[in-house]
């Protein structure tokens, strides 16, 4: 393809006939070069470790042992309960989050206070799960003189202080953990449902009514069938994959003696294998891997179609729709207040000094700034914050570059090849790091960076790339043909074209950047597994302090608040872009 000037205008010689996407496709050589960084990262730090873990699950010191490790791992006492609990997490929690998310999205629509409600629900989404864990452990403290939820439960049940119901005890701990998880994730579901609801043309409902449809018909034919079924599947799948992150919550919220009663596969694998991946641990890991990837594949089949749908002809100004009924609006307001309580508990605790926070409830002593003073004048938190900021920025920038390069040629794949790439990327983006920790460490050793900041960054980049490629590829592919053609015509070289295309996809680029940054900032498990001297990020730093939770709760709450400011601001500011990015990533 060559460019010449025709009548003083720049034109492409073969630019005849209907516009085709193929015109913007880079040459084979360039394509390989563009894909190389992503391929090396994914091959070396995801694919090879997965194969190595599979190998380890059927061998002992290189000797073939067949299914022996699987038999031992599954027969070990308690494994059945652990697997059952993992399944419960993956089914029950997404169901609750999805239902609540839909209800609250519908209830907060088109009402004056709806925006505020959604904003409040969104804040927990941005918090590191470690902070969520700290917050709920403060509320569920077994002592009614400190734990607000325990106090309320004691009063409601009419029990004595000595006989307070134990929300963190063996019987209730999973429910307690799940409540924290639901609190953290509902905002995301609301956000996604909200934009799905907004995308439904109101005329559709009018049409259904015109044909004599009742309220339930409107709900079914004008909401669920065209859009919401698919959105539900997206939300469900997102949350189900998210439940594999319960690891953070369990480590932070459960006292040592109930850890077994709360354990899920993520934790069990971590306990049985530490930093290495061998034998029983590898076998459990393979079981988990198969389940997670199988689950996401099924979900992907459900939601294969593009969402949101390509924009239809400019719809006429939507007719004003009646705000939801009063009972729904009360529900939304109630939820917002309920969602604020844990945040208030965290902030209130952080406003107390060490002794007050440990020895009595935050409501029974006047606040002072002691914990903040100690933190701000100390060096430890600043060092950690600084390191985490540097790490998250570097990782985000690298992921963005690598993913943009790879997404560009991939966007013009069509048919089975495109679907296969999509599924592969989807699978790579849900591989749990605990499963492949050992082999990843070996790879890091090869490049001499285990336990270093570079090693940590490398793992984050490899884990972040597949999702970023997926989102950006879909965004590129969704671009109208005309924009692609303009970019191709205006850009003299492929990188000019890429830059122009990226500019058209600002939403996706912002979504990927914010999500990646927040992901690294909020991480616990990668830091825990691959951090080392001088590379101790925020998540592990906070989690480490929970080992003496009560005596540290003032400082812990204060550092949690300081650690949450940046991710919350980022997510709140970019919330509109996030939905677009998230949803397009989940559906191809």
């Amino acid at each position: 393809m060559s460019q010449v000037r025709v009548l003083g205008e720049l034109a492409v010689l073969d630019d005849v006939g209907p516009a085709r996407r193929g015109r913007a496709y880079p040459a084979v050589g360039a394509t390989s070069a563009l894909l190389l960084p992503a391929a090396v990262l994914l091959g070396g730090l995801v694919l090879w470790p997965v194969l190595r873990t599979m190998h380890a699950s059927v061998t002992t010191d290189g000797r073939w042992v067949g299914a022996a490790h699987f038999r031992t791992a599954l027969a070990a006492p308690g494994t059945g309960a652990v697997v059952g609990r993992t399944v419960l997490w993956a089914l029950l929690v997404p169901a609750v989050v999805t239902a609540l998310g839909y209800l609250l999205a519908a209830a907060s629509r088109r009402s004056e206070e709806g925006g505020l409600v959604r904003l409040i629900l969104l804040v927990p989404v941005a918090l590191p799960l470690v902070v969520t864990g700290v917050t709920f452990r403060l509320m569920y403290d077994p002592d009614p003189s400190r734990g607000l939820a325990t106090l309320v439960a004691t009063r409601l049940a009419g029990r004595s202080v000595e006989d307070a119901p134990q929300l963190l005890g063996p019987g209730m701990v999973t429910v307690a953990l799940m409540s924290a998880f639901v609190w953290a994730w509902v905002g995301l579901a609301v956000l996604v449902f909200r934009s799905a609801l907004d995308a439904v043309p109101p005329s559709l409902a009018d049409a259904v009514r015109a044909y004599g449809g009742k309220r339930r018909h409107v709900l079914w034919d004008a909401q669920w069938r065209p859009l919401l079924l698919r959105t539900t599947a997206v939300v469900f799948a997102l949350v189900a994959v998210g439940t594999s992150r319960t690891f953070d919550l369990i480590l932070v919220m459960t006292p040592g003696s109930v850890r077994d009663e709360a354990s899920v596969l993520a934790l069990r694998i971590w306990q049985t294998s530490g930093g290495t991946t061998t034998g029983d641990g590898a076998a459990l890991g393979v079981v988990w891997l198969v389940a997670v990837i199988g689950g996401i594949m099924v979900a992907a089949l459900f939601v294969r179609q593009a969402w949101p749908p390509p924009p239809v002809e400019a719809a006429p100004e939507p007719a004003p729709v009646a705000p939801p009924r009063r009972v729904f609006r009360l529900l939304a307001a109630g939820a917002a207040i309920a969602w604020l309580v844990p945040l208030a508990v965290l902030v209130a605790t952080s406003a107390h000094g060490r002794v007050d926070a440990a020895a009595r409830g935050w409501w029974s002593a006047p606040p002072n700034g002691e914990s903040y003073r100690n933190l701000v004048t100390g060096t430890e938190l600043w060092r950690t914050l600084g390191f985490t900021l540097l790490l998250a920025t570097a990782v985000t920038a690298t992921v963005l570059v690598v993913a943009l390069l790879a997404a560009y040629p991939l966007a013009w794949l069509t048919g089975p090849a495109a679907q296969a790439t999509g599924l592969l990327l989807l699978a790579a983006s849900v591989v749990p790091i605990q499963v492949i920790a050992g082999p990843v460490n070996e790879v890091l050793g090869l490049v001499l960076s285990s336990g270093t900041a570079q090693g940590l960054a490398l793992v984050h980049i490899a884990l972040g790339v597949p999702f970023a490629v997926l989102v950006l590829r879909n965004a590129f592919a969704d671009l109208p043909v005309e924009q692609v053609r303009d970019a191709r015509l205006g850009g003299r070289r492929w990188w000019h074209t890429l830059r122009r295309l990226a500019r058209h996809n600002r939403s996706a680029v912002v979504a990927v950047s914010v999500l990646e940054f927040v992901q690294v900032w909020n991480d616990l498990v990668v830091g825990r597994l691959f951090g080392g001297p001088g590379s101790f990020p925020l998540g592990p730093f906070l989690a480490e302090q929970t080992r003496s939770f009560v005596s540290n709760s003032g400082a812990l709450a204060a550092s949690s608040v300081l650690a949450s400011v940046l991710p919350v601001v980022l997510v709140v500011l970019s919330r509109r872009h996030l939905v677009a990015g998230l949803v397009s990533g989940g559906v191809r």
Binding site: P255, L267, T276, A358, G445
Partner: protein, 425 residues
């Protein structure tokens, strides 16, 4: 050119690393720093940095956190082991030595430890580690005003607990005992103190691969514990609440909120007690009671320094750590005990430290923390090994399960855990 066979990747990488650091050192005119991995954090870490500041060569101290075993395994896998590590468990020292990760070390001429301690760090006749710090783990803490008369022996402790428990139930007085049963090591410390008193001669045998975890001594020790722990009203809020209480919180219950009278804890309990002390009254200690008056055997914990194979200057640093002068910053800070009997008793800052150091030198009574010597996962962690088993036992006896049944369950689990960790019967 291909590297000659037998030169491992690790050696090459080390050579490259050594080359680059040598280059850096050449520029600065100094020598390569020795890297030390430790478990300590916050003030303990600062204290250790003070210690190595006295070393003639630069030392880089890295905190590996509580999961130092996983950290070192990963670093070994990656071929980037530190030069020196300070390990909280002698079981790890022998484990690493048997895998060939460590190089033998020498102690200075100023180094001598109580009988029985040194052997824990040897494998096949070679010394692979030295003790750098010790903890006295046979203390009971209380406020003098809450317990005017200290129980002289185990039976007196049981009687006192019964009386105080009855008072607590009747008119809401303080519970006799605070216990941080959410932390498994608290319970293993109790168990070890009782076991060393019940069966001093078979205590050490339980750390060996052919240990009998269902035998008489273990059952007897558990029976004694069940007798005390099952007393109605023994713990603040009852047994189930105790299982959610962390060790630091149990200290607060004694020194600050005064909801409990006694606490079994090591000498480092003072670190938590100090900031939470209310008013001028400081807590005092007495020796964990044995069957006979005058206190039972003494349980000691400690941290050992090891040098990794191929380490640069690791062996020299380990040797230096065993000198009397090296311990000075710890002595100055107070609250730390040296395992080295050549450190003069008079150099401890306060009376308490002097008394504890003297106790550690009484011949014949000293036993090293048993759970720290156990192999593999049996050694315990949250939800794992002997920690978990002791928590299960505690839950049983405080929940009204008959002692014989609770003991049967616990010993069965202990034997199974020992077997799967590669030993025991």
């Amino acid at each position: 050119m291909r590297p000659p066979a037998g030169v491992s990747r690790r050696t090459l990488l080390r050579a490259a690393a050594a080359g680059s650091t040598a280059l850096a050192a050449g520029c600065s005119g100094g020598t390569r720093s020795v890297q030390v991995a430790v478990v300590w954090s916050t003030s303990e870490l600062d204290r250790f940095r003070e210690v190595v500041a006295g070393y003639p060569a630069p030392v880089q101290v890295v905190s590996a956190g509580n999961d130092i075993d996983a950290f070192l395994r990963a670093r070994h896998l990656a071929g980037t082991s530190p030069d020196v590590a300070i390990l909280p468990r002698p079981g790890l020292v022998t484990e690493y030595a048997q895998r060939g990760w460590l190089s033998p070390v020498l102690a200075s001429t100023e180094y001598a430890v109580p009988a029985g301690l040194g052997e824990l760090l040897t494998a096949e006749g070679q010394r692979y580690g030295v003790w750098v710090k010790a903890a006295h783990k046979s203390l009971v803490w209380h406020l003098p005003s809450m317990l005017p008369v200290q129980p002289a022996n185990w039976d007196a402790l049981v009687r006192r607990t019964q009386e105080l428990g009855a008072l607590a139930r009747r008119d809401g007085g303080p519970a006799p005992l605070a216990i941080g049963a959410a932390d498994g090591w608290v319970l293993t410390d109790w168990f070890e103190n009782v076991l060393a008193d019940v069966a001093p001669e078979s205590y050490n045998a339980l750390a060996r691969p052919d240990a009998d975890w269902q035998g008489g001594p273990v059952r007897e020790a558990l029976d004694r514990l069940a007798g005390l722990w099952s007393i109605n009203g023994a713990f603040v809020g009852g047994g189930r609440r105790a299982l959610l209480t962390q060790y630091e919180e149990s200290v607060i219950q004694v020194v600050h909120t005064k909801r409990a009278v006694m606490l079994v804890g090591a000498d480092f309990t003072a670190d938590v007690a100090d900031p939470f002390q209310r008013g001028p009254e400081a807590p005092v200690t007495f020796r964990f009671p044995g069957a006979q008056p005058g206190g039972g055997p003494l349980i000691v914990g400690g941290d050992a320094a090891v040098a990794f194979t191929d380490a640069q200057g690791g062996v020299e640093l380990v040797e230096w750590l065993t000198r009397v002068d090296s311990f000075q910053p710890w002595l100055r800070a107070g609250g730390y005990l040296s395992p080295n009997t050549n450190v003069a008793i008079g150099s401890y800052r306060d009376r308490v430290g002097q008394g504890l150091a003297a106790e550690m030198r009484t011949p014949g009574t000293l036993r090293f923390d048993l759970s720290d010597q156990l192999p593999g996962a049996f050694t315990g962690s949250d939800g794992v090994g002997i920690w978990r088993i002791m928590q299960g036992f505690f839950a049983d006896v405080t929940d009204g399960v008959r002692a014989s049944e609770a003991i049967r369950r616990a010993t069965g689990l202990l034997a199974a855990a020992a077997r799967s960790a590669g030993g025991g019967r």
